[in-house]
Amino acid sequence: MTIRDAVLCLWRLFALPSVHFSLGFLTLGGFIAGVVFWGGFNTALEATNKEAFCISCHEMRDNPYEELKQTIHFTNRSGVRASCPDCHVPHQWTDKIARKMQASKEVWGKIFGTIDTREKFLDKRRELAEHEWARLKSNNSLECRNCHSADSMDITKQNPRAAKMHETYLFTGQNTCIDCHKGIAHHLPDMQGIEPGWSMKTSQK
């Protein structure tokens, strides 16, 4: 009864026309407050979408980032490099927000030290990797394709071996990037029971 009264009281207050403030102040003030809120939200979101933010935790700095530094996605002939969010955060807004909400679990993990030692990280690595494989498989390797477009791929410039594989599996839509290119930016976990893309029994998709 009391809760209902309290809610009703609040609603009446909310529904009351303004007595002291002008309509202009309220609309303009609301507009400015909205701009400030949205700007702040977006800035905070962008700040968490930087590599510097990712490797501000030792879990990421000492494990996946150290491994990335060896690979072609970090150092190569043309000097173009991928940073963490390029591959791990979708670029489109709605997908990005969905991923960010998922990532709140990672904040939980950070607070409770789920992978705060090398051993814990290695033990959990298969599970973490499986999450990423599943995500890239379900969105047809979208984050790969943000840079590597199949349309722009000139297979005459590839090794015959690579060209044949892409013709057989990629251009036919039978496989997506992650089916064959696992572990290109980080070390692989124990791969027991995981078939390579070109030998997968269930590569129909």
Partner: protein, 174 residues
């Protein structure tokens, strides 16, 4: 004070024979056909990065050589030679978790990859027992199989293969 001068003079005297020997041995090394880097740091006109430089000078690193990744099989110099790797193997992981080479070259995966299968010797343990999978002693591929670069040998190689030694070399060999 006097003793210090004496010690310094003795040290200088002791140094003279060492210096003369150093000079003469340098000359001898240059005369000999044995390939030793001479004082200019070259062997047969090729600059050797590890030759004798004064320790105080900074010697710029040699440019690294390009890998040969043309997918062309190279002829083996003798029947037992481990075949060379004609493709890039950068970042290939070979450890307890996974052997990246085997994802193509293992018996089970060659249908999809069309890569040559490991030879049967790789399925035998040291007692000659044939196993169902790659023997542990053959697991680390790059112990024997290596990619090549376009580097030229700094020491000449006079190796001749079997056919050239027997004198019935046919066309097509090196």
């Amino acid at each position: 004070m006097k003793t210090r001068f004496l010690i310094a003079a003795l040290a200088l005297l002791a140094g003279i024979p060492a210096m003369t020997i150093g000079v003469t041995s340098g000359v001898v090394a240059a005369d000999k056909p044995v390939v030793i880097a001479d004082a200019t740091g070259t062997v047969g006109g090729i600059k050797v990065p590890s030759a004798n430089h004064p320790i105080t000078t900074d010697v710029p690193a040699e440019a690294t050589h390009r890998e040969i990744t043309d997918d062309q099989k190279r002829v083996r110099n003798y029947a037992d030679q481990p075949p060379l790797i004609p493709h890039a193997i950068r970042d290939y992981q070979i450890d307890l978790n996974i052997n990246k080479c085997l994802t193509c070259h293992d018996r089970r995966n060659t249908a999809g990859s069309q890569a040559p299968m490991l030879s049967v010797t790789h399925f035998q343990d040291r007692d000659g027992q044939t196993l169902g999978t790659v023997a542990a002693r053959r697991y680390f591929c790059t112990q024997c199989h290596v990619p090549q670069t376009d580097a030229q040998p700094i020491v000449p190689n006079s190796f001749q293969d079997f056919d050239s030694v027997l004198g019935h070399a046919q066309g097509g060999q090196k």
